[in-house]
Amino acid sequence: MRDDVRLVSDLSALATGVVFIVGLVVLGFRLAQIQLVDAAKYLEDGSRQAARRVQTAGPRGRIIARDGTVLADNRASVSIVVSPEGFQRRNWTETVSAISNAIESVASAIETPSPLSANAIARHVRQQLARPLVVWRDVGDEQIARLVERESEFPGFECVETEERTYPEGRLAAHVIGYVGRGETTSAAGEKFNFRDKEMKGRAGLEAFYDGYLRGSPGELSVTVDARGFAVAEETVVEARRGPDLKLTIDPKIQRSVERQLRGEYAACAVMDPRDGAVLALASAPAYDLNLLVPRLTPEMQERYVGNHACRNRACFETYAPGSTFKPITALAGLAAGRSAFAEYECTGVFSLAGMRLHCARRWGHGPIDMRHALKESCNTYFCNLGSEIGTNALFAAARAFGLGEKTGLDFPQDSAGVVPSAEFKRRNYNLPWYAGDLAQASIGQGQLLVTPLQMARVAGAIGTGRLVRPHLRADAPVESSPVPFSQRQLAVVREGMRMVVDGGTGKLAGEGVAVPVAGKTGTAEVGRGATRRKNTWFIAYAPAENPTVAVAMVVENGMSGGGTTAPKVGEVLKTIFGEL
């Protein structure tokens, strides 16, 4: 019995030792599975949960004019940021209020109120915890000095260098350049980032149209975060790079000259090279200094300038009745329809049709008049008769041949098509049938016809060269042009007429003192009725008359007449371009 007891006990002791060993070996095998076989998977799981991808913004490219003048640039600017890592508290509410209190004490130290609401701070902690929070943007030297002086009192706060947009030429080509706001970086589809830094975003004008081009190529930051999401370390994966410069066709000399002529008016002007479509100047008045919109577009500036109807872009967004500047097109339509340039109409000073009376500029009439002289004197009667004779389709086919009623294809967000009406258009919009009177009105550029100054500059250029080009603002944009469907002989008649306009005709003030011969056409479009009746005065031109290199269209709202108000302004612009006699 005793021996039996001993034996079993001994074996139990040994068995216990074996169980210990077996148990440890089982654990060893399980560990081999986790730490050897599946190690890569767990390593990846671990780094994935701790790594955050951040897209950083690259500096935006500049906008440069034809002659190298910088129109939009970046300037160094300092922002004060706070990193949430230093404010870890037991819960999020306490963390937010710790950050909030720290911001308040810095605010009193630098004597600048915090622009952030408690909600904005809470939102940052909730959504962007691993990133520094930008509190004050674009701070001045004095504020920086105050903070640096007491830096040790405010752990977690830091001055960081950033960039702000700046417009060295102020209001020059303001409508063309546009302005920027701030937004999160964007990236190719499929790219996933946990956080995106803020970058400049074009909100209007070329800044908006070429936003993707000007934008810096984004960088990537890998931020290691702890279990609560606070940043622990960061590493640059991809360096952000500066965006390319955008070179424009705009010639600052011409642009400045144009803007000088428009100052004080509600007016617009487009100047382009009719050979390749390069827009040399595109101006709208009134304009504003773009630097007023930096560092951010305030509601006040929005109301006063950017969102103000008075400051809208008149050069390629607003549309006007072309008035008499349309007459060259009517003339070409007539020639194309087989009418002779020498055929005369009797002008009695008024054109009557079905009870409608259209007066000619010359109250007592021009008498019998041919096409060239009708252009020179801007005879309404002649063109009403001509238009009525050839019919709606022939007239508007010519208008369309000059690109009216469709977008010009300008590389710009605002590019109005204008209106070339039709019976269908009139019924849809006015619920009225197309009368013979509408055709007569359209023949002299009145009625429902609507065009932009840019479109008319293009028309002037196309008459001068025989080719209709697509206007463009970017210097290296491809040249696109197509011939207008008129013979050289037909065009020659109209060119002669337009030359006569400047050479002693209604637009003679446009050519006075200009070193090269100028061809052009005046226009005085009547808009509104009764008390709101006013005149928008036009002048379109190309120069030199032979082999033109410049085409211009200018409209001045509430002018006296195309020849009196606008033609001299265009003359000044042409003098700047070609020199004075």
Partner: protein, 390 residues
């Protein structure tokens, strides 16, 4: 006995393994503590090392003196004191993490386990004890002696600590031949019961079970909600990895990402970036902290050290001639082994998550001293328990 004889009989392997484990534990606590914020945690390794020095004194003292003398003297008073302390802790103890376990700096439940083991060894060890002790009445006595502290510990509640006591006491009673049939039946019942429990939770919680049926089954499952949650995480590990399964997932990530050679001392990201739950990284999850930084090589070293610590204890049980000594050696080593096995198995996802410290590695001073005292007693068995054989 001559001093030279002491040296010869002293089990150097288990002693060296223990010292090495204390060293690794100090490093692990240092790393885990530094990941937390608070001076208390940063200096935890120092206080733990101090406790280990105190534990070493206790160990050497208990090893030096003949265990038979002090066990005879202290078994009943120590047991009585342990039960009293367990009652006291339930009434005035400090609550932490949903349990009342602390009496100031001290956890009576840890000490009570050693008291139960020495009580059982003292009572059932001697081979000349009356025959009734090997029968039904002896079993009832043993059950009462184990049951009273076990129920008190369960009241704290500390299911894990209670469970580690079971294999040790069962083995002791088995070796002491106390009504073996009942023991075997109880063992089978435990296996069947455990399986049934797991099966019931599985049936109730598996996807697509209607709410009514789930509640009908859960009515018969004697588990607390947090325990059901742990079992569920164990059964369905991929369900809800961010909430209920978070701890398990982070434990696996930290151990697995350590790879073959580990990330290096104080370089464990899961721990230092606080993904590993901070409240338990120094205690229940310390193995994860260690395995992430020491890698597979370090993990195997740790297992080998535990083997070197515990297998010689079983050997001591084999070679001693004294019944009490054998029961002490087996009881203590099985108790320590249960902690080691359940803690690591839980960290590597082999068993549901239970709050248990890893001997020598976890920060926990009462437990450290308790384990060292127990191993000191085993050392004493190794030195003094063989005299009668020669």
């Amino acid at each position: 006995m001559k001093f030279l004889e002491y040296i010869k009989r002293f089990n150097w392997i288990t002693f060296a393994a223990m010292l090495a484990l204390i060293a690794l534990g100090t490093a692990a606590i240092y790393s885990a503590g530094n990941a937390r914020s608070g001076e208390l945690f940063h200096s935890m390794w120092k206080s733990n090392l101090g406790t280990a020095v105190f534990g070493l004194a206790v160990y050497l003292a208990l090893a030096f003196f003949d265990y038979r003398k002090y066990i005879t003297l202290s078994a009943i008073p120590a047991y009585a004191l342990a039960v009293v302390l367990l009652v006291v802790v339930l009434s005035i103890g400090t609550s932490t993490y949903g349990g009342k376990r602390w009496l100031w700096f001290f956890q009576p439940s840890e000490v009570s386990k050693l008291c139960v083991i020495s009580m059982l060894a003292w009572l059932f060890g001697p081979t000349d004890s009356p025959p009734w002790m090997r029968g039904f009445r002896g079993f009832l006595l043993a059950a009462a002696l184990v049951g009273v502290p076990a129920v008190l510990i369960l009241k704290e509640p500390d299911l894990g600590t209670m469970l580690t006591l079971m294999p040790a006491t069962a083995l002791m009673l088995f070796v002491a031949r106390v009504w073996r049939r009942a023991l075997i039946v109880a063992l089978c019942a435990a296996v069947v019961g455990g399986t049934a429990l797991l099966g019931a939770v599985y049936e109730a919680e598996k996807p697509g079970v209607p709410e009514a049926r789930r509640e009908a089954i859960m009515k018969y499952v004697p588990l607390k909600p947090h325990q059901v949650k742990r079992v569920r995480v164990f059964l369905f590990p991929d369900e809800d990895p961010n909430a209920a399964g978070y701890n398990r997932r982070q434990a696996l990530i930290s151990i697995g990402s350590g790879g073959f050679s580990g990330k290096g001392f104080r370089r464990g990201e899961t721990n230092h970036l606080k993904y590993l739950p901070q409240s338990i990284s120094m205690n229940d999850f310390i193995f994860c902290v260690y395995a992430e930084e020491a890698g597979f090589v370090g993990s195997v070293l740790l297992l080998a050290l535990f083997g070197a610590l515990l297998v010689p204890c079983a050997w001591t049980a084999y070679v001693v001639t004294d019944g009490t000594g054998r029961l002490l050696a087996l009881g203590v080593s099985t108790l320590v082994f249960a902690h080691v096995f359940i803690n690591i198995a839980m960290s590597v996802g082999l068993v549901p998550i239970t709050g248990l410290p890893l001997p020598f590695i976890s920060a926990g001073r009462t437990f450290l001293v308790t384990v060292m005292a127990g191993l000191g007693i085993v050392q004493s068995v190794s030195i003094h328990g063989r005299e009668t054989r020669t």
